[in-house]
């Protein structure tokens, strides 16, 4: 639907470098990256608010690089909601309809329907300054949806909301995407949001697109160490392949030996990515298990977080495991507890430093 072909642009000292991406109709496309990576600039470039220095932007195979924002058929919702403070909620929602020349009566009916749909009918005559964050968010979304955009652009829409409102809003967005078939591009630095909503993900770091593809693939089998770190892989270990038999490699990582599934050959430098969810802990010597990686270690710390706990284990290399709080209690895990740690070889994603192609392993 919309594609960036080697787009570069400069904004003060910041540069977006050679970005190429393709967003298909009906995608829920996430642009993720650390703060200051250029996510919002990329979003604004899609909206036509920044003119690229080089490269082309295509909408349905037609070049729109120089097309002004008002003619692109996109709607933008910022992190701060950016409701017009001089207008009531109803006026905000009808703004896009009004500037597009819709008849007053028709616009009023349309707005009433939208306010009803987003559950903010009772706020129609209120000014944005008197609304809560969640109410402002819904009003901003209603305003954006009112113009029936081809693409809805969301700039970190959940970051200023409390956890309960966030959950509600995630449901709203999911419904909007599913029921309306709307193409949504969302900027976020939250991996959780990406896991919950995205169909495709682009990772941008320091103005460069470092990974792009199906959400499951990008989030679970990252292309590089920095992407792995950003998408939230808890255990990242550098090592060297010592042997490989039929794609079953032995990797030496800081004195510990891991078995993983990869095409990497002996002597090749690799990075091992292990999700904390895939690490199993047992107290004592451990039992016989099908897991190919079993090692003794000592609990370093236990940090409870909601229903789960993050347990750090020193097993030569420090590895993190995520357990339920009940498991922590049953195993009486406290710092200094000796444990046996196991990981299936197929649960290890191997990044081959010699190749830019996505590694195998999961």
């Amino acid at each position: 639907m919309i594609a960036f072909d080697r787009v570069s642009l400069a904004l003060g000292s910041f540069r977006l470098k050679d970005v190429s991406l393709a967003i298909g109709k009906g995608d829920y496309y996430f642009i993720v990256g650390p703060s200051g990576a250029g996510k919002t600039v990329l979003l604004e470039a899609i909206a036509g608010l920044h003119r690229p220095e080089r490269g082309r932007i295509l909408l349905r195979d037609k070049e729109i690089t120089a097309l002004p924002p008002e003619k692109r058929g996109v709607a933008l919702v910022y992190q701060d909601y950016s409701l017009f403070p001089n207008m009531t909620v109803a006026d905000n929602v009808s703004y896009g309809l009004w500037v597009r020349g819709m008849q007053k009566g028709e616009a009023q009916r349309e707005v009433a329907g939208l306010l009803e749909r987003f559950g903010i009918s009772h706020l129609a005559d209120r000014y944005p300054g008197t609304l809560s964050g969640g109410e402002q968010q819904r009003a901003a979304l209603a305003r954006a949806v009112a113009v029936k955009p081809d693409i809805l652009l969301l700039d970190e829409p959940l970051s200023a909301l409390d956890p309960v409102t966030q959950e509600k809003f995630i449901d709203d967005l999911r419904r909007l995407h599913r029921e309306e078939g709307l193409t949504i591009v969302q900027v976020s630095h939250s991996r959780r949001e990406a896991h919950l909503l995205a169909t495709r993900v682009a990772v941008i770091i320091d103005g460069t697109l470092v990974d792009e593809g199906e959400a499951e693939v990008v989030l679970n089998t990252p292309k590089s160490r920095e992407v792995a770190s950003f998408v939230g892989i808890e255990n990242i270990l550098d090592g060297t392949v010592t042997a490989n038999e039929d794609g079953h490699a032995t990797v030496d990582a800081g004195g510990r030996t891991f078995e993983a599934v990869t095409e990497a050959t002996a002597g090749e430098e690799v990075t091992l990515c292990i999700r904390a969810d895939d690490v199993v802990l047992a107290v004592g010597d451990g039992r016989r298990s099908s897991a190919r990686n079993t090692m003794a270690g000592t609990v370093v710390s236990v940090a409870e977080n909601g229903p789960v706990a993050e347990v750090k284990v020193d097993a030569g290399a420090e590895l993190t495991a995520v357990l339920t709080r009940r498991s922590v209690r049953d195993l009486s895990l406290v710092p200094e507890t000796p444990v046996t740690l196991s990981v299936k070889a197929t649960a290890i994603h191997v990044i081959r430093s010699s190749s830019s192609a996505r590694g195998s392993g999961r």
């Binding site: 909206a47 924002p69 008002e70 701060d80 950016s82 017009f84 500037v99 008197t130």
Partner: protein, 293 residues
């Protein structure tokens, strides 16, 4: 009767209780910093009040003379002329200065922008006589702009347009800088959202940016108008006649003496204070949207 006694007692009791509470609170919340700031600021306000009181004492000792001067057609005409010329200058500033202020607010920092900003500020840093000379040389009969305008029948020397143009020149930085600050305070995100919703740049400016800057527009206009009607040296260079109020006071001081000029000045002070106070009161809530909770 009985009820009255009881309610009177209650009232007295209530007053005593609130007085005690007030005394206790006063002891508890002594903010010496704010008190110090009030004293320092008060000294500044005090000087102005003292100067006016000094003049008022002399004027109110002879109210008949004050009324005679204040109601003379010459003084009333001059005050009206001054206020109107100031208002005309402000209208021109709103028309030409608002777009300039917007461009300055939204353009990225550059050497060119710095030069334009310095040019805008020139009337602030120049002696008023120099400002007057600049205006005179440009708009005099043989001036670069005065000559072509003269050919179409618009004269500036010793004429109302000359007064307006001199006022506009000296008051422009007050309006442009205040307006620019107002535009800078409107988040660019609001404009971006309006654009993506289908509004052109001008529609966005007209429906979002300008309404949100109205408060600064009024402030800038009041400041510029105040600066314009108070101008003397800048105006007399190009338009000694017709008399604006500052020229009339100077003329009266040099011809009639201090008493008449003081009476005119006192009249102007009273009227100006009243007008500015009213304008400030009227625009108190203008352009405020975020704090209506």
């Amino acid at each position: 009767m009985k009820t009255r006694v009881i309610s009177g007692g209650l009232l007295r009791g209530g007053r005593e209780a609130s007085l005690t509470r007030w005394k206790e609170n006063r002891k508890r919340y002594v903010d010496w910093c704010t008190i110090g700031f009030c004293i320092l600021g008060g000294l500044l306000v005090g000087i102005t009040v003292l100067a006016i009181a000094n003049m008022a004492t002399a004027e109110l000792a002879n109210p008949a003379h004050l009324i005679e001067v204040a109601t003379s057609s010459e003084v009333i005409g001059s005050i009206l002329l001054t206020f109107c010329a100031g208002a005309n200058a402000v209208l021109l500033l709103v028309f030409f200065g608002t777009p300039l202020a917007y461009v300055l607010a939204r353009s990225r920092p550059s050497r060119f922008k710095g030069v334009v900003e310095s040019i805008v500020d020139i009337p602030l840093i120049l002696p008023h006589t120099v400002a007057g000379l600049l205006v005179y040389l440009l708009f005099m009969r043989r001036g670069w702009l005065g000559a072509p305008f003269g050919e179409i029948g618009l004269a500036f020397e010793d004429a109302y347009p000359g007064t307006v143009i001199a006022m506009l020149f000296v008051a422009s930085p007050f309006f442009i800088n205040t307006m620019r600050e107002g535009f800078e305070k409107v988040p660019v995100h609001l404009e971006n959202v309006a654009r993506t919703l289908g509004a052109s740049t001008f529609t966005t400016f007209r429906t979002v940016t300008l309404p949100l800057s109205l408060r600064h527009m009024y402030s800038g206009a009041i400041l510029a108008w105040g600066r314009a009607i108070g101008e003397f040296a800048g105006v007399i260079m190009i338009a000694y006649y017709p008399f604006i109020i500052s020229t009339l006071i100077y003329h009266s001081f040099t011809t009639d003496g201090i008493q008449t000029s003081r009476s005119i000045a006192f009249t102007v002070i009273l009227i100006s204070f009243g007008v500015f106070y009213l304008l400030r009161r009227m625009t108190r809530f203008m352009g405020r949207y975020d704090d209506r909770v």
